[in-house]
Symmetry: C2
Subunit: 480 residues, 2 copies
């Protein structure tokens, strides 16, 4: 296997995360001879260090939170309820293992050739792979050179910290570190209140830890609609999560030792400051694209502010080199990477497919209450000068949510007043992440709100909130 | 208030169930002067004796079932878990009361005139109402005659038993009886495995009762796709619910006394018989439309086999008399009644709206696993000579379902091979009742499966099962 004679493929996909394997499987379905190269296991960040293990943890937290309220439902515990975090962590790992095994089976069935090793471009359509050895040791299996008509780069991203703040894996943690731990801290301070930050805040609080959430911007989940952010902050605060927005602190003055983590935070525009102390800190301030050591310097690829530049069909400046997923920035979401992958392979296969439109990509955050959205926020409409008509209905008007006992939140449908078309759907509340799929279908069909409402929503379901909000755009909601 | 001088309205809606109040509220929004007449509270069967109290019970059962599995999630109970059925029943009633209060507030805001009393037609557009007294006593408030340009009948339905089987409210119960009880039987036999029967079977089993489910037809949930029925029967049987299909028994030989209910059942086409004994029997064999004592004999209305005949815009044989909801048969579902109501009022208001298409109405059953569907089953396609292309993906391929720990079931998308259009969506599994709303939107747009898949479904969600099944129609699923 040290032979470096080139194999030729129709397509090489470099990186086997969600975007990469989706692209590879579809390419094979379209008849392309395809190689999928990764030094790591199939599934990438999402499966191994992201969505899947996190959601497995959140599911345990949900069970715990629900048990604490079980008496309301007539289910009475005579005794104590405790978290066995070793079991929580083991279940998290078992879920990941199960899905990984499933994907491995799919690779076999797909006809895609799996190449285990680290790939590096040598020019736009040649990949030199440093193969893993029999025992899995990186590089010990020699090298293999692959050539292809087209190459898709899908090398993903990694956690990144703030300037001056060094994560040590013990006191100052990345989400990767959290997802390897098998113990629960008594207290945690989370820096960054994007999707990752609020999910872990919700999780650790539901698991019984003391949680402080620190955000630089004036709102938590700052990319969401402002009303969503407000409801989540209120919910978190009411539950006892300490939320500090407009936070300013000196990263170089963060003390981390055996006693835990301590630092002083102030709020922008406000007097005074406060001391934050916790057993550990989670730094959830974003990710960096893996654009280094990929051999981009051997290609025409343009990297701008750490991101590979592509057109709306995912083509780089090199006509046969494509890029998808976190390395192209966008939304840093697995399902978006998959969609980008599909656009790329269908285009490579010679089909005329619609280009990438990030306004039609749903976003999902699995804190409690859940958040999901698609399209523009109200503020974005204002920025773009789009006159809007808005319908907003709270979950407390929805029988199924009341039945479920969790009815914080709302659905909000935003239509362009000029065209009538739905331009944004925002949901915070029960099952939001499942409900937004309907919004995605509506967006594909450029639905007006009344058309969403024309679809009969079964009663009683949480999904009714979308129909009611859609009708509310025209002042015609029924149950609110 | 004994004055019988006629008041004139644009519209009188007779019956304030889901269909009736939806029609009335929308009529008011469209500028029609509207009266809503009912002797009972607003909300009808669904809110008071149907969906809502049942789903409240099922929610408690879900909490109980989830607690029994909590240790799998790392949440450990040191002690015992028990059901306090008085609390379960009180919560059920509190949910109903809360939603009723909400609707009362909406009546006030709507501008609809609420007329509390029993209405009877005197000709197609006159309603004589026997008013409730100050204390609520029916009829003691005298009479009032209302006239209107149009009248919508929405008098609903009631439980019905099998010929020869008399429900006594003690041992042989209707769903109404069950929903009034504040105690849990140790054992129950349920006759009829439609939506009501399987929901109560699932509920009582999850609450710890011994359950026998008896169905005349060869399959439980016989209106659903055969593969859905098969999965549910397997799931029920595995959980320990005794399922007897093709059941035959002599209704007149059912013994009901202080010891409970006993009868002998055989299976059609099979030798032998078995003795069934339980504390109580639930008769869940369908409903009868309330077409009596409404004054239909004073109109041209045609009643066929107990059902009011209407056209696809809900117009009866009398041009200004309309009928919606359970009295027109159809699907006997609250949300369908509401949709019928909307079609009627928009037509009355002079708009040209699409007629009723029952193939675009979703159906939802809240047993565990949940069932939801829209459009045609595979068998119905065969009957109608529709050549099909089918995609079916199990929930075990869906990461979020695996995370949730309940991943029995599948989604199945059926397309017409000739037109490409989606003609049926069938889901059994987690959150099915919420997920089917997406199918309803897709049906409104006559979506082909690839268009459903073109909508990016957020990852990881249960909703992905629909995208995968839609892609599977073209042999292009990614995660299965």
């Amino acid at each position: 296997m040290t032979d470096a004679a080139a194999d030729h493929f129709d397509l090489i996909v470099l990186g086997a995360g969600t975007g990469g394997y989706t692209a590879a499987f579809r390419a094979a379905q379209l008849g392309l001879r395809t190689a999928l190269v990764d030094e790591d296991q199939i599934g990438g960040t999402c499966l191994h260090r992201g969505c899947i293990p996190t959601k497995a943890l959140l599911e345990s937290a949900d069970v715990h939170a629900r048990m604490k309220k079980a008496a309301d439902f007539g289910v009475v515990v005579d005794g104590t309820v405790a978290v066995d975090y070793a079991v929580v962590a083991a279940r998290r790992d078992a879920v990941v293992k199960r899905m990984t095994t499933g994907l491995r089976g799919l690779v076999k069935r797909s006809g895609v050739e799996w190449v285990a090793g680290r790939g590096r471009l040598e020019g736009p359509t040649t990949v030199r792979v440093s193969l893993a050895g029999e025992d899995g040791t990186p590089g010990s299996g020699g090298e293999r050179v692959l050539r292809a008509t087209d190459v898709i780069l899908a090398t993903g991203s990694r956690t990144k910290s703030l300037p001056g703040l060094v994560t040590d894996g013990v006191r100052i943690l990345t989400s990767d570190d959290i997802l390897r731990r098998a113990d629960l801290p008594a207290s945690i301070v989370i820096v960054g209140a994007g999707a990752v930050g609020v999910e872990f805040a919700s999780f650790f609080h539901d698991m019984g830890a003391s949680v402080t959430l620190v955000e630089y911007l004036p709102a938590i989940v700052p990319l969401e609609d402002a009303e969503v952010s407000a409801v989540l902050e209120r919910s978190f605060t009411r539950r006892g999560i300490r939320v500090i927005t407009k936070a300013r602190f000196d990263t170089s003055a963060v003390a981390a030792d055996d006693a835990g983590v301590r630092f002083v935070v102030s709020r922008d525009g406000e007097e005074g400051s406060e001391q934050i102390a916790a057993e550990v800190m989670l730094v959830a301030t974003g990710r960096a694209a893996n654009v280094e050591d990929v051999g981009l310097e051997t290609t025409q690829v343009v990297v701008d502010r750490g991101i590979v530049v592509v057109d709306d069909h995912m083509r780089t400046a090199d006509p046969h080199l494509w890029a998808i997923g976190d390395i192209v920035g966008g939304l840093w979401l697995a399902h978006t990477a998959a969609h980008e992958g599909l656009i790329a392979v269908h285009t490579i296969a010679g089909e005329d497919v619609e280009g990438m439109d990030y306004a039609k990509q749903p976003r999902a955050t699995y804190c409690r209450p859940e958040i999901a959205s698609i399209g523009l926020t109200e503020a974005q409409c204002v920025e773009r000068g789009i006159a809007t008509r808005i319908g907003k209905v709270p979950f407390q008007a929805i029988a199924k949510a009341v039945i479920g006992g969790e009815y914080e939140g709302f659905a909000k449908v935003i239509a362009d007043a000029a065209t009538g078309e739905t331009v944004g759907v925002h949901i915070i509340g029960p099952h939001a992440t499942d409900l937004i799929a309907e919004g995605a279908v509506a967006m594909v069909f450029e639905a007006e709100p009344w058309e969403i409402a024309l679809a009969t929503h079964p009663h009683p379901t949480n999904a009714e909130v979308l129909a009611e909000a859609a009708m509310a755009v025209d002042g015609r909601s029924i149950n609110f």
